[in-house]
Symmetry: C2
Subunit: 395 residues, 2 copies
């Protein structure tokens, strides 16, 4: 008997829109979006789900949203209630939050053509994206990222996820948002750690793909550390652009085995876990970048001068490049991150290293002694910076 | 500030393979599949999840699988344990089963390049497909449908799902399997109701798309009712082929608003619910087809002769075309199915009717009085068949 062969392609499209004060009712961006999406046959609903951190730092945002959609009541039916979810990793650790969102979808009768909009940091966006993706086999979700990290990286991409039994992103899907709105106004209220942490992903992508962008960051490191907004806007825009290009040009749903944008991440994921998420993802990535740059130097792939430019740029931005958990018992410690990284991605271990500034290269194994040597270098050279950093944290 | 626009396409491909005795170790089909999928860099794992109904009716199947993969141990690492899930709607109603599968994925270290194979009816396949889709953002899943309905319709498609608070498929995703194996041997042990029920989906697709296929079913109705296997194999193959063509040629992930393959389904979904799933999905679809055919006749779109050919074919196959719940209080009864159907699909109500045998046409409203009239016709003309059917059930 013959066999049937099925092949089809699905086209995904969305915009990442940059603005300031998205919910100022004189700002037409959001209204224009809903106007373009409107169809004659049905009214669409819109449910906002907000990060508690955003509600705390922007107490007017709920009123602003109500005013905005009262002025544009013809476009979409704003649901009167807002769902507020605790920000940070806790949002992804407790399955009750998934259920709260699914319940809201059910209770408010939000169908596949209605919208759930998430406002917040990466964790809340990941959670809401996941709950939206599994409800009715996918309701439309809008992302309004409020941190540097989510505006330039995770929030503009196609992944969502929650943790399961403390395993990061164990449950999740690949589903693009219908739109992303990056409002730089939200960045003004970030604390310094969150402002800084998001820059690590920009350095990561610059180092593996775009030397001029790295040199721009290097040249503007002091301005960025001093919270210069135009510099940050440029950084977020360029980093988001490269992230989008990587997704579209590669393997958007990661059906193959390599993820070349994950430079510095194998140890970062493990460090976050070992510190019980006391260090931010971006802070861990900065350490991971330093570690894998030193490792690349040991292999003779990166010059000492280029390695120092990377470390100096990270330090100028205020990153500590050593964390005591790097020296935790190595069998259960950071080195364990290598095998967990392989298991999470599936297939063969693939690690990105550097052969120059802006030139990433993949390898499939790493040497434990060389990793320990790189850690030792960070311990020795970064202890002063680390002390300084800890003091500033406890002020 | 300018905006970024993201566009990409993702290509999905899989085969539907027809065979007899898939797990006979002399049958090379499954071995060939894993051989083609093998990569040099990693070993892949394979977890089987089985419908308890299959284990009951095919007590040797677990041994056969173990023997098969012992003979082909070079291809994939078969996990020694099989997960057995109760068959039927219960599999989709209890969220514990999702958790059991996700736990197994975690416990056995099944990564994105390993496999979960589901053997069973549509409910177990829907459940396993869902759990696989959300684990690690999607592990590879193989479907081995064991009923007519799953072999010719749901099992070859791209949807999965579970119920949530008794709402059918409230949680789910669109994710294609990596392969479907249709083994006709499994059909031999189906009870008559399950054998018959799956034929309804073939009649549905024939009526809206393919008059010659309807006429073939009409001509072979007695053979099909008498459980002629070559006739059933042809029916399953042609129906699966049309289902695949519909998916590839249309809107595979249903991002638009119409689902033209859903002829006869708005009332069928509601009838299943009203009878607490005592009638099979296919039995409900047969009634839904009869109802919407009579409705089409009332509109003058279908001749009396063509309508009778449809009803006669359904009755020859042994379908009862009246169910007392059709006459349940209509505000909470079958008519409620119209609004629920719209809500589930989202957007505008879209119902498929007939303008001839093999010619479906979409409408966006239905008249309650005409529906009641069609129900009355079924009540009058089908009472005898219904009695007969009930008697055979209680034997």
């Amino acid at each position: 008997m013959d066999h049937l062969h099925q092949t089809f392609s699905v086209r995904f499209t969305y915009s990442v829109l940059f603005t300031e004060r998205l919910f100022d009712y004189t700002n037409p961006l959001l209204a224009d979006f809903f106007s373009q999406q409107a169809t004659a046959d049905t009214r669409k609903k819109l449910l906002f789900i907000m990060d508690s951190g955003v509600v705390d730092t922007h107490p007017d945002v709920q009123d602003d949203i109500r005013t905005y959609f009262a002025k544009h009541a013809d476009l979409v039916d704003l649901l009167a209630d807002f769902l507020v979810i605790p920000g940070g990793e806790i949002a992804k650790n407790d399955s009750d939050f998934v259920e709260q969102i699914v319940d809201a979808v059910d209770r408010y009768g939000i169908d596949r053509h209605s919208y759930v909009a998430a406002i917040g940091g990466g964790s809340v966006l990941d959670l809401v994206g996941y709950a939206a993706a599994i409800s009715h086999r996918g309701i439309r979700h809008i992302r309004i990222p409020t941190t540097v990290l989510s505006q330039n990286d995770s929030g503009v991409g196609v992944k969502n996820g929650v943790n399961y039994r403390a395993k990061k992103n164990f449950l999740g899907t690949f589903v693009p948002p219908v739109a992303v709105f990056n409002d730089s106004q939200f960045l003004t209220t970030l604390d310094d750690r969150d402002w800084r942490a998001g820059i690590a992903e920009a350095i990561k992508v610059a180092l593996i793909k775009d030397r001029p962008f790295f040199e721009w960051i290097e040249a503007h490191a002091e301005e960025l550390a001093a919270r210069d907004m135009p510099a940050m806007q440029y950084l977020v825009h360029r980093c988001a652009e490269m992230h989008l290009q990587h997704i579209a040009g590669g393997d958007p749903f990661e059906m193959g085995s390599s993820r070349p944008l994950d430079f510095g991440h194998w140890s970062a994921h493990k460090l976050e876990q070992l510190t019980n998420f006391e260090i931010r993802h971006g802070e861990a990535v900065a350490i991971g970048i330093a570690l894998d740059s030193l490792y690349s130097q040991q292999l003779g792939w990166l010059t000492e001068s280029d390695t120092n430019r990377i470390l100096t740029t990270l330090r100028t931005l205020g990153f500590a490049l050593y964390q005591p958990m790097l020296d935790a018992d190595n069998s259960a410690g950071v080195l364990k991150g290598l095998s967990e990284f392989r298991e999470h991605l599936g297939g063969q271990l693939t690690i990105m290293l550097l052969k120059g500034l802006g030139q990433g290269v993949e390898v499939h194994e790493m040497d434990a002694d060389r990793i320990r040597q790189a850690i030792a270098t960070l311990r020795k050279t970064d202890s002063l910076a680390f002390q300084t950093y800890k003091v500033s944290e406890t002020l």
